[in-house]
């Protein structure tokens, strides 16, 4: 096979504010044979997107390609003029960006945007292009392929938008498509559909592609070749099977280890049945409170949960399931419309303005995005000192000492206290974010997706830190995440939310093997495994056609449930069933039935050698 694209000795530099040139990537050499998929993998800042963009001879503002050659067939892109490059981009090479939501123009119909590149390059008539687009929509498994193009971007879901963006890239039949983290912003349940659609077109049309990702498990499904990047240099490259089964480089091994959090980290819950936080019948939402006491846009309904002293409760669900709303309602930032939140023996008022300073102190929230949760105008020391002064009335000297202790607790050097928080890395910011919550000396910390924005290696370190803090200080956590592997690693109890309702509750052990609630089953089975051919084996996970039922008392998951009972599930609300294994689910099916249905999709042990059906995986 001949190589479609060949990169030689590529070096890209950036010019900083101080006029110093800084090398972002160097010594990059690889080639992709026609019809193969190459994955660029690495943490954020490793230069993977920079390299991907360089394949179009494009460098972001402030950067430029310093040396090296990029051959497409036999043309060196570095020798082309700007007009020649323009006619190449979008026609022979196209790009699928990470966030489809921000890549579409919200005021244009989707079809017009998809056809743009055919019109720029005059490659075909509008009619032919439209027919081709509809064809692509069909291949990409989009619903209503004939009409979806006439919608606006906000009228389709995130996963659909990502596929539409792929259609946009493919409309000109490019020889090379660059996928830049196309599924990172999606829920696992959506990701699996998108991956499947991508894989199918890539195989059917023999497309050569570059797949940029930080997720080894996803890459294992998509790529033939893997290039592992670290700090702008290639640290290992090879066939996918070789990289995931027998990595030789230390950094690759570290990445692999981070992809498999150890499940046995948590100290078994001390048999202390006293619950610290108990929530009964909690409901919350946004908008005006209507006359019947429900908000205009209800989000959470009838949530019951309890957290024991020194234990961790995990909350899982897709985006929009109400996880963050739950944290806000417990913290009182969003007044609940019904229900009781009890901390130890005290009932907490539903809005934080009515809570006493002591009550506020005992429940702290750590927000998802440390970039926005730390005031960029303040230094680390000032951020940490404020809760000390506010809750504990500490003087300057005492708080300086305590700040150093806190920094030590989260494994940061004391010298960092004088730095503005904008100078810190993502992981350091999240540690400061955590330290601020600890400064209050709370009983309970609500962690809202604290690891989602971080690289796997950094996220693992943060999770270890949480466990350590729990062991040493006996703090209870409510840990919100969309990632079931993370939850199984740190939580004692887990509840599953779907569309604002709790559908399952159980201990960590209950989430290792069936029976699960059908939704939990879908979640667990949608998490990609680090094993080639996994995607092909998961053929049975399909989105189900919505059922024709409306009414709020029914099971919220009804529309997507693959095992629903017609005539029962769309008529009655599901009961709470205690399963013999200890967890509780809200479902019409019994534990035995669930177990039988889910047995065939049982988690196989990971890190198995590539199975026979994995060719080309």
């Amino acid at each position: 096979m001949s190589d479609l694209i060949r990169v030689e000795n590529l070096r890209i530099v950036a010019r900083g504010d101080d006029d110093q040139e800084k090398t972002i990537v160097k010594n990059i050499e690889f080639s992709i044979p026609r019809g193969e998929v190459l994955a660029l993998i690495g943490e954020s800042g490793s230069g993977k997107t920079t390299i991907a963009l360089a394949l179009m001879r494009y460098a972001r503002r402030g950067c430029h390609i310093d040396e090296g050659s990029i051959f497409l067939d036999d043309t060196d892109l570095m020798s082309l003029s700007q007009p020649a490059l323009r006619s190449l981009r979008g026609r022979r090479i196209s790009y699928v960006a990470q966030s489809a939501a921000s890549s579409f123009n919200p005021s244009m119909r989707i079809m017009n945007q998809i056809l743009e590149s055919t019109q720029i390059h005059y490659s075909m008539s509008r009619k032919a292009a439209e027919a081709k687009a509809v064809d692509l929509f069909r291949v990409l498994a989009l619903p209503n392929p004939e009409t979806i193009g006439s919608r606006y971007p906000h009228q389709v879901s995130g996963g659909q938008l990502q596929r539409l963006m792929a259609a946009m890239a493919m409309i000109t039949d490019p020889e090379l498509i660059i996928f830049d983290e196309p599924t990172t912003a999606l829920d696992v349940t959506t990701q699996i559909d998108v991956l499947r659609a991508f894989k199918q077109v890539v195989q059917e049309r023999g497309i050569t592609a570059v797949y940029v990702s930080h997720d080894l498990a996803v890459v294992a499904q998509m790529a033939d070749q893997v290039v592992v990047l670290n700090n702008g240099e290639i640290c290992e490259m090879g066939r996918t099977a070789q990289i995931i089964n027998a990595p030789s480089d230390d950094y690759t091994k570290q990445l692999m280890a981070a992809a498999h959090p150890v499940l046995t980290g948590v100290a078994e819950t001390n048999e202390n049945d006293e619950s610290l936080l108990s929530v009964k019948g909690l409901a919350a939402g946004y908008g005006k409170i209507r006359r019947d006491g429900r908000p205009a846009i209800p989000i959470l309904q009838d949530i019951n949960l309890s957290i024991k002293h020194g234990s961790t409760l995990g909350v899982i669900g897709e985006s929009g399931s109400g996880k963050s709303t739950l944290a806000l309602a417990i913290a009182g930032l969003l007044p609940s419309s019904a229900g009781i939140v009890k901390l130890a023996d005290e009932v907490l008022p539903n809005r934080m303005e009515l809570r006493s300073r002591d009550q506020l102190k005992r429940v702290q929230v750590v927000f998802q995005n440390a970039d926005t949760a730390l005031n960029p105008a303040h230094s680390v020391g000032r951020i940490l000192a404020r809760p000390l002064a506010f809750y504990h009335g500490m003087t300057k000297d005492a708080s300086d000492k305590r700040v150093r202790e806190l920094l030590d607790l989260v494994h940061l050097p004391p010298s960092i206290a004088d730095q503005p928080c904008t100078r810190l890395s993502g992981g350091q910011k999240q540690r400061v974010n955590l330290a601020r919550a600890l400064a209050a000396e709370p009983d309970l910390i609500l962690c809202d997706e604290v690891t989602s924005a971080l690289d796997t290696v950094v996220a693992t370190a943060i999770l270890d830190l949480l466990k350590e803090l729990q062991r040493e200080l006996g703090i209870s956590f409510m840990f919100i995440s969309h990632d079931i592997t993370t939850l199984r690693g740190v939580c004692d109890q887990v509840i599953v939310l779907y569309a604002g309702q709790k559908v399952e509750e159980g201990s960590r052990k209950n989430f290792a093997a069936p029976p699960f609630h059908p939704y939990t089953n879908l979640l667990i089975n949608s998490v990609p495994e680090l094993e080639q051919g996994w995607l092909d084996r998961k053929k049975h996970i399909r989105q189900t056609i919505p059922a024709n039922a409306d009414g709020q008392q029914l099971c919220g998951f009804l529309d997507r449930c693959s095992v629903r009972i017609e005539g029962k599930c769309d008529k009655q609300s599901p009961p709470w069933v205690a399963l013999s294994e200890g967890s509780e689910v809200s479902c019409h099916l019994s534990g035995e039935e669930l177990k039988r249905l889910q047995q065939h999709s049982l988690q196989t042990p990971t890190l198995k050698p590539a199975s026979s059906n994995a060719e080309g995986g």
């Binding site: 009182g332 300073r357 998802q368 005031n375 506010f390 809750y391 601020r436």
Partner: protein, 268 residues
Amino acid sequence: MKSLYRYLGITGLAGLALTLFWVLVSFVGPLIAPYSPGEIVNYDVFLPMSWEHLLGTDYLGRSVLSRVMDGARFTVGLAFAAALLASLLGTGLGLFSAVSGKALDESISRVMDALLSIPNKIFALVMIAALGSSIPILLLITAITYTPGVFRIARSLAVNINQMDYIQVARARGEGRIYLASVEVLPNMIHPMLTDFGLRFVYVVLLLSSLSFLGLGVQPPNADLGSLVRENMSGLWEGAPAIMAPAAAIISLTIGVNLFIDSLRSSR
């Protein structure tokens, strides 16, 4: 110097130089002026430029150079004070409005909208007609005229910052409104507000100059740049530097500040 050049660019540097020049003139101008601004130095009026009178003489035979140097003091000083007052008032109200409850926020905003809807020159004319023209009145009127504009910008900035997670964290901690406004929100809006101050300053210069041009601004025997243009109007037909010089002064001051502020904005 090189880094300053990188930061501001060539236009920004030119703007900075012009701005600094006028600030310097307004401070030391009266000290180094060749004549006293009121002194009649020649019996010929509207003389052209010469070594004796660098910018010629005005309609009474006074030294134009000395009068421009003296006038710049009024224009720059008054405009600076008025713009500062408007910025402080507008930022303070905007911040207060953003962290207050809905009712208070609405009422402050609507009052500001009402003020904003009055054309500023008409407003100034009416106020001066009613109260007479003096330096404090001019200062107050220009400040009031430009406060609503500052308020709008400050409030929208503060409302945006108020949505940030770090404000939520502080609110969850139980912090009061004053702490939120002054410690958490304010430091993050200082930079854009400074930029806004510079632009406001330019508007104020133009408003004060036009008021003076109408004869309602700084009153004789004092004169700011606007009044200098007005009193030498009749020299226009002779092309006398007496009218060109103060006009050029206003132009270079406003363009200079504008260029400087613009380069600050784009370099961020």
